[in-house]
């Protein structure tokens, strides 16, 4: 039937009336209006005819033999299901109670005898409008349901793919606890964690602008960069620069990603922090006391052009048992009925009141529930405990090659000069190179730690001439790293030489690493003679190097470190 002439569309109308004269009269009126007519003499016939022919509109006499109109109405409505089949009761009844019964039985309207053709026509038309409206609503509802199912299925697939990428990391490490809604990805929330080759832990809590698919699309490339660069041993700064550049390139102008990144070194007991646009995270002391906020100091990722991007991080000392607590804006931005925000102060009170770390998430959620009665679905919480390094050991790396082509007898020397030291981190390249030595792979973590330590000693204490005593207490720690940045920016002379020598030894082989710098050197025997307890935050490096390597010596008044690793015959 053509939609344009919907007004005069012929309907099929069922008329149930036991009086033959009335039945004929009604049939004539309705037919004259251009509709098709079906007739029944009682309720039972009417129900049977309805089941067979499915008319659009039903006119029912209330009082009929065999089955009355009320019962017929109930049965017809049941047969019609969700579709609206308007029933107009034909009645000579006039008392209110009877009319109410008509409506209660499922009638939509009634028509009093004697019948007026004009009113009947108008009522059929009005009922037809209702019928169409209902049909449209049902159709749209089904359509929405179909789209919704479709969307849910797409989300399920997208999430499954993404989970493969996102959970490739170490979120399941025993010292990490996190809470995230299963579909956080579609709120733009992102949580990633991975070990570096040296056993440090990189963590990212991010929040893309917006909701739904647009918020989720940036997550995949971001995760790829994060995991790829972390596994290759790049530091936070390089990883951040790459993530920012990538997002800037692929995202539309109004989309960006707030992010808080951590580089936790359990070996050296420090954490490096970069926060661009996320709510304050917190460093929670082991024994109560004031939480230290990790404040947002940068624009979110994906806004600034690569040359304007600021990758400056802050470095904080860590102690055993301390915890890092990160959260998404879903927590502080939860609002009550009066648009009051939960806010930072309420959160800090919850943190201060917490006695058992294991209950912190529950306490935060309870506070949110109490505040609003219902918390937002985009709350992400993350809690990382500072533990002994061996408790958070890196997952074994799986190598694809057989090891037959491993080089065994070579040496290489690099010299990195001022301009390079300023802006380039050579460690990932050196580490990549050393990974080719298959015999050393079992000691990969130790090797990376030692190399990192030697390089940063040569740079910070050697080339930049920073006094390690500055790091002795937590307060001066920050100024140490500030000074480090200033001196590095101003650097115009100096060098670090790295000499790598690999040679066969018995059935296996050995690697000798020499790191030499242009600095003033240091009194080796004095530093090494200090008891561990006095070495505090500054002396840990040398001890670490000695503990992790087979042999470690310092020559040329501390300007040259020489470290040896060895391996047995390969199985």
């Amino acid at each position: 039937m053509n939609q344009v002439c919907a007004d005069v569309e012929a309907l099929s109308v069922l008329i149930a009336e036991d009086g033959a004269a009335d039945r004929l009269l009604l049939a004539t009126i309705v037919r004259k209006q251009g509709h098709q007519v079906l007739t029944a003499e009682n309720g039972e016939q009417a129900v049977a005819l309805f089941a067979e022919r499915r008319p659009h509109v039903v006119l029912l006499d209330a009082m009929m033999p065999v089955m009355d109109g009320f019962e017929a109405a109930r049965q017809i409505k049941a047969l019609a299901g969700e579709a609206l089949v308007p029933i107009i009761f034909l009645t000579s009844l006039s008392e209110e109670q009877a009319l109410v019964r008509c409506l209660e039985a499922g009638g939509d309207d009634f028509l009093a005898k004697p019948y007026s053709p004009v009113i009947l026509a108008a009522k059929i038309k009005a009922m037809d409008r209702l019928r169409r409206l209902q049909a449209t609503v049902l159709e749209q509802r089904d359509q929405i349901a179909r789209h919704h199912n479709h969307l849910l299925n797409e989300q399920r697939v997208a999430k499954a793919v993404f989970d493969q990428v996102a959970h490739a990391g170490c979120l399941s490490a025993p010292n990490i606890r996190y809470l995230q809604s299963p579909y956080a990805l579609f709120n733009g929330d992102l949580l990633l964690a991975a070990y570096t080759p040296a056993g440090d832990m990189h963590v990212l809590l991010g929040d893309f602008t917006g909701h739904g698919l647009p918020a989720a699309v940036g997550a995949m490339p971001l995760a790829e960069v994060f995991y790829g660069m972390t596994a290759k041993g790049y530091g936070l700064a390089e990883t951040l620069r790459e993530m920012n550049a990538k997002l800037k390139r692929i995202l539309p102008v109004d989309m960006f990603c707030c992010a808080l990144l951590l580089n936790l070194s359990f070996q050296r007991r420090v954490v490096e922090v970069w926060n661009g646009g996320m709510p304050d995270g917190y460093l929670l002391p082991a024994s109560g006391g004031e939480p230290q906020p990790l404040v947002s100091r940068h624009l979110p990722l994906g806004i600034l052009a690569p040359e304007q991007f600021d990758d400056t991080t802050e470095v904080l000392p860590l102690a055993l048992g301390e915890r890092l607590f990160l959260l998404s804006d879903g927590v502080v931005d939860t609002s009550d009925e009066n648009d009051q925000l939960f806010g930072v102060e309420r959160l800090r009170r919850v943190l201060a009141a917490n006695r058992q770390p294991a209950l912190l998430f529950e306490e935060v959620l309870q506070a949110l529930d109490g505040f609003r009665g219902r918390s937002r679905d985009d709350v992400s919480l993350l809690d990382i405990e500072v533990v002994e390094p061996q408790l958070s050991s890196p997952l074994p790396v799986i190598y694809s090659d057989s090891g037959q082509s491993s080089p065994l007898d070579w040496s290489l020397q690099f010299e990195f000069r001022a301009e390079t030291l300023k802006r380039f981190n050579p460690l990932p390249y050196l580490q990549q190179l050393l990974q080719e030595i298959h015999g050393l792979r079992a000691q990969g973590g130790a090797l990376h730690s030692v190399l990192t330590e030697l390089y940063s000693n040569a740079l910070e204490h050697g080339v930049l001439g920073l006094d390690s005593a500055l790091k002795r207490d937590a307060r001066s720690f920050a100024s140490y790293y500030q000074m480090r940045n200033e001196r590095l920016q101003a650097l115009s002379a100096g060098f670090i030489r790295v000499h790598l020598r690999v040679e066969p030894l018995g059935q296996g082989g050995r690697l000798i690493i020499e790191v030499e710098d242009s600095g003033k050197g240091f009194n080796v025997s004095k530093v090494l003679a200090r008891p561990v307890s006095e070495q505090g935050l500054c002396g840990r490096g040398l001890n670490l190097v000695r503990r992790l390597s087979r042999r470690a010596e310092w020559a040329d008044e501390g300007r040259r470190a020489c470290v040896e690793f060895a391996w047995e015959a390969q199985a």
């Binding site: 917006g210 109004d254 646009g277 624009l299 979110p300 806004i303 804006d329 925000l341």
Partner: protein, 101 residues
């Protein structure tokens, strides 16, 4: 109108006022406030005096406006922000891109 825009008499300054919640619901209105203007104004002022709340999509809209007004060469000021709104701008460090007062 929840978003009003006024161009100064000399045509050099565009002022955009946002009222109520500044979130994704205002997206189209906010874009209309600066797109399709006969001439590009030298400076844009976003007046948030009557804005009660601002979410991350509003930050995105501000970035779009900045881009439209010339990116790094643009002169976009955000004025009269309430303390709540100012906090949100501060967390994202948008003061590095916009003159906020």
């Amino acid at each position: 109108m929840a978003v009003e825009s006024v161009v100064s008499q000399d045509g050099k300054k565009l002022t955009i006022k946002v009222k109520g919640r500044f979130d994704f619901g205002k997206h189209q209105e906010f874009r209309n406030a600066y797109e399709h203007k006969p001439a590009r104004p030298d400076s844009v002022v976003v007046d948030l005096k009557e804005a009660t709340y601002l979410d991350s999509s509003a930050l995105g809209m501000l970035l779009l406006l900045r881009d439209h007004a010339g990116g790094d060469e643009s002169d976009v000021r955000v004025v009269n922000a309430s303390s709540d709104v100012r906090k949100i701008l501060a967390i994202s460090n948008f003061d590095k891109l916009f003159d906020i007062s």
